[in-house]
Symmetry: C2
Subunit: 118 residues, 2 copies
């Protein structure tokens, strides 16, 4: 794991948000002013391939990156804001119905967030 890769993983893991490439890039630049956007793409893609980071492709939005700790996502139907949601683990239920092992799942719940409800 290279210096940049480690720092990018740390940025994603310690962030409270679901970061875009540009946000990761700007955060990293505070530490490493000489880093270039392509390097962020390279390393983030590597982290995603190695399953150390989750890529969140949400329709109508640019891609965001998330830590791998197990959780689901709430997406506001109005403003698009993404929040974390901890729902019970469905893995065994899904495997039972499917009749085979799964690699994982991605559950996104569309709702209207408290801010937009007002």
């Amino acid at each position: 794991m290279t210096k940049y890769e480690a720092k990018i993983l740390d940025i994603i893991n310690t962030s409270q948000k679901h970061m875009t490439i540009d946000e990761i890039y700007n955060t990293l630049k505070q530490d490493e002013p000489k880093v270039v956007l392509a390097t962020v793409y390279n390393n983030v893609n590597k982290l995603v391939s190695n399953r150390q980071v989750i890529k969140l492709s949400i329709e109508g939005q640019i891609d965001r990156y998330d830590k791998v700790t197990k959780h689901d996502h709430l997406i506001c139907s109005v403003c698009g804001k993404i929040s974390d949601f901890y729902f019970s683990d469905l893995t065994s239920k899904l495997e039972k119905e499917l009749g085979g092992v799964i690699d994982g799942y991605d559950l996104r719940i569309r709702y209207v967030c408290p801010d937009c409800k007002k």
Copy 2:
């Protein structure tokens, strides 16, 4: 609902696949040789806005469009193939845990498809 809009909805609803814009465009052209790609984009986006069609944005793949009948998706981790999966409805469970109504949810299960298992 315009002629093109109706035909595009029909193409998506009667297809056994999850179609890309280009596949929809090529299918429609068999009936309507003069139609243009932008018209397909316009009408598909309209159908998605009106919730008559589901947009499937899957990471690493171009967007696909699907009928609205309630079902979940299996995505092969190896070849990326998408299949339908009918899992029990989670809406009430999710609403109970969330403590509020939801607009819907999107459940995608990553697994290795039978073809890739061989």
